[in-house]
Symmetry: D3
Subunit: 285 residues, 6 copies
Amino acid sequence: MFYHDKRLQYPVKVEKPDPHFARMLQQAIGGIEGEIRVCMQYFFQAWGARGPTTKYRDMLLHTATEEMGHVEMLATAVALNLEPAPLQDQEESAADAVVGAVMGGENPRHVMEGMLHRHILSTGLAAFPANSDGVPFDMSHIYASGNLAADMYCNVAAESTGRVLATRLYNATNDPGMKDMLHFMIARDTMHQQQWLAVIEELGGHEGTLPIPNSFPQSKEHQEHSYDFFATAADGSPPPQGRWTTGPSLDRKGEFSVFQNKPLGEEPVLGPARPHSGAQSEQID
Amino acid sequence: MFYHDKRLQYPVKVEKPDPHFARMLQQAIGGIEGEIRVCMQYFFQAWGARGPTTKYRDMLLHTATEEMGHVEMLATAVALNLEPAPLQDQEESAADAVVGAVMGGENPRHVMEGMLHRHILSTGLAAFPANSDGVPFDMSHIYASGNLAADMYCNVAAESTGRVLATRLYNATNDPGMKDMLHFMIARDTMHQQQWLAVIEELGGHEGTLPIPNSFPQSKEHQEHSYDFFATAADGSPPPQGRWTTGPSLDRKGEFSVFQNKPLGEEPVLGPARPHSGAQSEQID
Amino acid sequence: MFYHDKRLQYPVKVEKPDPHFARMLQQAIGGIEGEIRVCMQYFFQAWGARGPTTKYRDMLLHTATEEMGHVEMLATAVALNLEPAPLQDQEESAADAVVGAVMGGENPRHVMEGMLHRHILSTGLAAFPANSDGVPFDMSHIYASGNLAADMYCNVAAESTGRVLATRLYNATNDPGMKDMLHFMIARDTMHQQQWLAVIEELGGHEGTLPIPNSFPQSKEHQEHSYDFFATAADGSPPPQGRWTTGPSLDRKGEFSVFQNKPLGEEPVLGPARPHSGAQSEQID
Amino acid sequence: MFYHDKRLQYPVKVEKPDPHFARMLQQAIGGIEGEIRVCMQYFFQAWGARGPTTKYRDMLLHTATEEMGHVEMLATAVALNLEPAPLQDQEESAADAVVGAVMGGENPRHVMEGMLHRHILSTGLAAFPANSDGVPFDMSHIYASGNLAADMYCNVAAESTGRVLATRLYNATNDPGMKDMLHFMIARDTMHQQQWLAVIEELGGHEGTLPIPNSFPQSKEHQEHSYDFFATAADGSPPPQGRWTTGPSLDRKGEFSVFQNKPLGEEPVLGPARPHSGAQSEQID
Amino acid sequence: MFYHDKRLQYPVKVEKPDPHFARMLQQAIGGIEGEIRVCMQYFFQAWGARGPTTKYRDMLLHTATEEMGHVEMLATAVALNLEPAPLQDQEESAADAVVGAVMGGENPRHVMEGMLHRHILSTGLAAFPANSDGVPFDMSHIYASGNLAADMYCNVAAESTGRVLATRLYNATNDPGMKDMLHFMIARDTMHQQQWLAVIEELGGHEGTLPIPNSFPQSKEHQEHSYDFFATAADGSPPPQGRWTTGPSLDRKGEFSVFQNKPLGEEPVLGPARPHSGAQSEQID
Amino acid sequence: MFYHDKRLQYPVKVEKPDPHFARMLQQAIGGIEGEIRVCMQYFFQAWGARGPTTKYRDMLLHTATEEMGHVEMLATAVALNLEPAPLQDQEESAADAVVGAVMGGENPRHVMEGMLHRHILSTGLAAFPANSDGVPFDMSHIYASGNLAADMYCNVAAESTGRVLATRLYNATNDPGMKDMLHFMIARDTMHQQQWLAVIEELGGHEGTLPIPNSFPQSKEHQEHSYDFFATAADGSPPPQGRWTTGPSLDRKGEFSVFQNKPLGEEPVLGPARPHSGAQSEQID
């Protein structure tokens, strides 16, 4: 169960409200690389964690709970970026003036700036759980497979795309408050990339974990092709050489090679459509 | 551009059609762990690949093209599992009899078996691009971030959950044809896990690639917390110890430690709602 | 069944076409606070209404049918706002000039103004059933629970957010025609808020309807906590005082109090993963 | 920010695991009437709350934090209902036997029971953030309008449909552990219905809050129709009489009456399609 | 604007309630081939219809209004199929007994039959705007392009898949009431296929309407390939011969031929990733 | 199975990168009228094609494979339109300058231009499988019904709306490279409209294929209304006359006429809600 503190995990300050940046921040709230995603992903992985110890469940709970605080910080940042600017700034800046105009309603012709309308129309100048296009977050992005190693790689993927997004946001603002908030969040993403990869290392690294799931005996797979790079160029030209075309596999259980893809199967033939199946008569035997 | 061969990449045979299994196979077609996802993900990563060489673009095209053939194999497997069983089998098996009944329409009371209805009602006994719950695949699951290392981890995640799914399917069927098809597909998932991790290794492994993106100077992040595990237990009890709580970080750029989470920020205070903003009067200053 | 009249329920006129406003109006068509939602919600509530009388079913049909006319009005308003402006207005207004340019195709460099592109690309300057971000309306927002009182509150919620939206739209336009249309629609929202609350009153108000469903005996609920406000501050600081922390409950069946939340349960322990379940070996007993 | 306790808010015990019931419980996790919805709805309302005091923001934070613990309880309940039954129960029960068979993989022909497949295929016998049809939760259901009264009615609607669902779940299980968990959760829904209505009362009840938003002057609405029930029967037959057809309105600002709906507007005429607009030639002037 | 009659367009009677069939009927309500789709599609096409006459707008309004009555019929049919069966039938039929058990709650172990749960949990035994998998209808399926001929083909497509579905439903029930309802609806689908094709004929048939849009001068298209069938077999084997490989084109403006597809373009080369763009350093020039 | 060639099907060149146009092109990638849709639609129709010959399956495979190359061309076009403009152009054009600023990060205040943010934030200046509003493509738009004639009309609909879109894009750019690419793609859409209609003709045209499915005996439909135009004007005024109101039907099996719609059924009466069903007490018998 959970407790809250009204204070934020880290300071969130906005010197010059910027509704454009508010819209960009939405990607970090409700985008697939965002914080709702990692928060919920870690929670559902924790709640379904099975294994001889509760160690990974516990760890996931700590970090999921931390992430909920990140969602809160970003939602606060959006709301603050939608506040009217101080008066002198409004005079200086056309963009800020729009905010003032919107809030006071004096100048409805200028209301719609593209990045503002949804916050105004539907939320009254607050954050909402959607990405910067206004597409609501969809919980199918909560990856929790029941396989610990697979889940860890899902988490690395989430934190990698998440940190990429955070650095793009950092580069897109000059506001000292926003930069400070992001330089904290970027640091946390750094750690979280480490954290999930450290689980992989603890589980034995490439050799211990691969192929995932490691509980399925490789004797049951078609081992002839387990370490083949399949080339599909129509003219049979060779694929680019890389670590994956020659040498020992990362799990040390095979040797990479290149296989020119070709049909090993036949042309499939389906039975005709059946009577009463809603097909055209011509399709029915 | 692309070419096709009418023959399948690998044989797809079904000895005893099983509509239950057809439904399960849908997860490998239109599920988030499925083959449409990896096919399209590799294509979009390839088409947007930027960098001094086209090496990774080229590699991605080879594998994306291979994956399209996997979608084809699975769609064929679904259609074959929805064929009526040979006559003698129908007599032996209630489940198979349902299929016959459905097709002939003689016994409408037994039509609906849950796993059949959508194939019959909407596709005429064929595969469709949805998961085994009938939820259509949604292209937001195509992860392509523009960062090569992040994309590779997205791919590892996809192939890890994909191989987990494939082994579960393997364990859920006794049909020799289906087992053979899956033991080939599982082998390919083995290779694809290797392949994307090999790119990471080629790029320098943990030390060379982390934190992702490695192009953002860590001097701009709040380094005090870059390698801290944040503990969020309300009673301050310590988190479980692991590779991620002490010792050198995986990128060799820091040292792991534990930090008891606490509010570093203040309670946020938003301005009042503005006149004409659609709030209740009580919210307006 | 239904009939139509080609004339609109209320006049829809646009003096100065404004594609920005067209985009805003889309929120009232295909937004979750919009008219498709209430129309379909009332229809599905009507079609599933069960009870000793058909009174509520009948009432719902009247209002659902009215709402279909509101969707029509708004779709017409969008189309009219996308008409080219009269010539003299085009000269005066950059925004309007864009519309002319778009329509004539003379100036393709200026085509894309953000709010126009989807209307042009996909609808040929007409309304479409999506919100102002272009997110299509999703019928999961049709709330119809089979419980009359719950449904009435769903309807109050819809009409409250709907009237909030309508007033924001009213404040965002200076066009006399649009203001007139909206001042009619806002009046209808006023009535519809009344209407659903009047059903609650007719059913006995707070005392008669609460808790919803009132057919479930409260003896079966954990009454010790039925009127407790659960406080979750980590430091145990008291929550804000309000009507909900002390005094008789609204249904007169209890007394409000405050309860400091704490774990009444234990740490859950799930069984290990099973063999053949696709987990890592380490998770399997 | 947030803290967690590994223990659950209330005991969650399952005597006889029942995968059917696990599927039903999913509706309370990822359904539109479920706990993720209320948790996130209260959080986003809190994070965007504007007004002279932080009272409502604070209250919302308390309850949102409580709800996160409810999601945890339900996710745990799903996982426990997917555990294999004790041995003697397995012998007695076909349904339970299926679970064993599935887990051990011995009997793949019986694997698919409809309610099990998604938990097995995609989550490894754990909860996931989707409803009982497997449709993932979509964050567009987080209603937060920026208007305090509208938001309270959205919350009443959520808790009303939520308690209806919880009582249906209670009636659908005989498991003492599940019944106990639900009788706690039903009590909390009772309180939460009270709580949001108490805010309405504190804000002045019907007279003080209606019409929502009360900050929009009714002088700007078409008051002639503000308290009219519009009748739409084609033959002009009168609508059913009710509290909403005669007598004073609930806000005491008007008198209910019935108005036979009729076209007050004209048939709309749109301009022809423009050259280069992609219409057929016949549509172009 | 619209009027209603409480009576149904055509009788809807159910002799033996069948929850399985109720679930199948949902496909005709909220499936992509269903009645909400055609109803809303015709309305939005009407409301956006542009051209020298209002003839097509008017026609569309007639038929859209008819379709709303079909949604009503189907929703009623679902509700009636979810009624408890008469007593003697309950004794005869396990499936029907389930319904009774569910409603009375006596036998929770048997509650979940897969096709029932959503109707019970979320709607209280009524229809809802989703398909037979419970996937809510998504308004992106309302095709209205602003091009009259394109829209007509969208409508033919909808009515063709719709009638296919209706005949499958007809073949799946023995209930005389349901068969009667469907034999009416199938007749209406027959007419609606005719109707939209008749518009095409009125507009000049293949020669008058093709290529759509006919307002775009073919001189601006790459006419060398306007009537070529592109063959993509990797081994250059010829495609199957058909009406589309030789002979005059349907619009009489060209001659069909076969073209072996080959790359006419070059390998694309994208610029490197830019500094500060969140790419890995290796991707940056 | 499939092969690729690194070269594009047709040249894709961009003289002046235009991020506005990149956004518009997204509609042709991930819009419902776009190329992913036709590619996947033809593949799934092929993979499920049943009938005495594999002719239509084969033809569909050729064209689906061609379409995959179109997706590639468009994704390449998007990436090229997001490249920085040559230096002199940047000086001339505010819009282009934005791109440079964005990439270099020098001027974060100007970053957000609406059409750029998603490409920058989430993809690093590449295409993604969503429409021009950023709504991800949803595979429910893959229409494959199992009825050959219905599928052909679905394909005509897709290619008609697709060519409408392509001509709108053509009219929206002055870039010679983009115009050249589109004049090729428009030609291919011309052919594909022909191709699917040619199948209809080969199957017997209107008389041979209608009503779809032609395998359902018309004797089972309510033939009295099979060729009636139902008029729904409330005042009984006649509908507009057209090819569909008088004369022989297109399939030569009936005669068109007009029928004034009226209720042929009765008011439906549903049973009361049952005990324990979660309804209000007042709804329960």
